[in-house]
């Protein structure tokens, strides 16, 4: 038997345990973020409610430049919080996909990119491609698979249409 394959098979149980441990750790880390993110969302919700009350008070009174400016500043900051907090959701989705891939790997045995492993490698790439939600991500992924590196400038040019709106 080929030495490399022999060594790979010998390490299989060790790899399997590592992969399973990584999947469990990911699950725990994802769960750990749930409570703080919920708290943050609830705090934001209360801030918006308070801001609405402030807005109503301001509207009843004669124009007050300072108060109005502060209100607008607060609204702008809240808007940034709402937009930025959405990345947590995306991160959780991607981590869940990674966890599922790891779980899949541990149940399929050691990954090898040669011989019969090549088919598994193609299956794995297909699974990863399924996770890509934008045409730009596909371009970036293909480029990465071809060259192994992505130029920073090119990467920024390929930024997907996040926040875009298209009415039909």
């Amino acid at each position: 038997m080929n030495t490399a394959i022999h060594e790979s098979l010998a390490k299989a149980p060790e790899l399997d345990v590592s992969v399973q441990a990584a999947a469990v750790l990911l699950t725990l880390a994802m769960r750990d973020t749930e409570s703080p993110v919920t708290d943050l969302g609830q705090a934001l919700s209360r801030m918006v409610a308070t801001l609405t009350t402030v807005r109503e008070h301001v509207e009843k009174k004669p124009f007050n430049g300072d108060t109005d400016g502060t209100r607008m500043q607060l609204e702008s900051e809240l808007s940034i919080c709402i937009q930025s907090l959405q990345f947590h959701d995306r991160l959780i989705q991607q981590l869940a996909a990674v966890r599922n891939l790891l779980t899949g790997l541990s149940s399929h045995g050691p990954l090898c990119v040669a011989g019969f492993g090549a088919q598994r490698w193609e299956e794995l790439l297909d699974m990863l491609r399924d996770r890509l939600s934008a045409d730009q991500h596909h371009q970036l992924f293909d480029l990465l698979m071809r060259t192994g590196v992505v130029d920073n400038e090119l990467g920024s040019e390929l930024t997907p249409a996040e926040g875009s709106v298209e009415l039909f």
Binding site: V37, L51, D89, Q93, S133, E162, V165, F168
Partner: protein, 120 residues
């Protein structure tokens, strides 16, 4: 103010949409998937539905198609809010009867402007 149904399987996303819309004075109901949304839409009258695409039980594209098939929702704006940004998926949404396609993460001001536009 208009009544809006926000559909997403992620509690934090529902919360963010809800915060953005209630802050602007909209009355917001939430559903965690297409099945729950469809049941709520049948029991209530909403002026606009905003839905995610990838959800368990019933996805957003199917929900849009189902709602468009109902007399009450034939002309109600149905917006899709998703991380999906491929032309193929957008075409699927359009064919199902979606009014518009917004890519996450949404900008609250742009979301409100879009809602005001499609409700006008």
């Amino acid at each position: 103010m208009a009544r809006i149904l926000a559909v997403d399987d992620s509690p934090s996303m529902r919360q963010m949409v809800s915060i953005a819309l209630t802050g602007a004075g909209y009355d917001v109901e939430q559903a965690c998937d297409g099945v729950e949304a469809l049941a709520l839409a049948q029991e209530n009258r909403f002026d606009l539905v905003i839905t995610d695409v990838n959800m368990p039980n019933m996805d957003g594209i199917t929900l849009v198609r189902e709602l468009r098939g109902k007399a009450n929702y034939k002309f109600v704006p149905l917006l899709v809010l998703t991380t999906e940004a491929t032309q193929e998926r957008k075409q699927q949404g359009k064919a199902a009867g979606a009014t518009g396609w917004l890519v996450k993460p949404f900008n609250p001001e742009r979301l409100l402007a879009t809602i005001a536009k499609v409700l006008a």
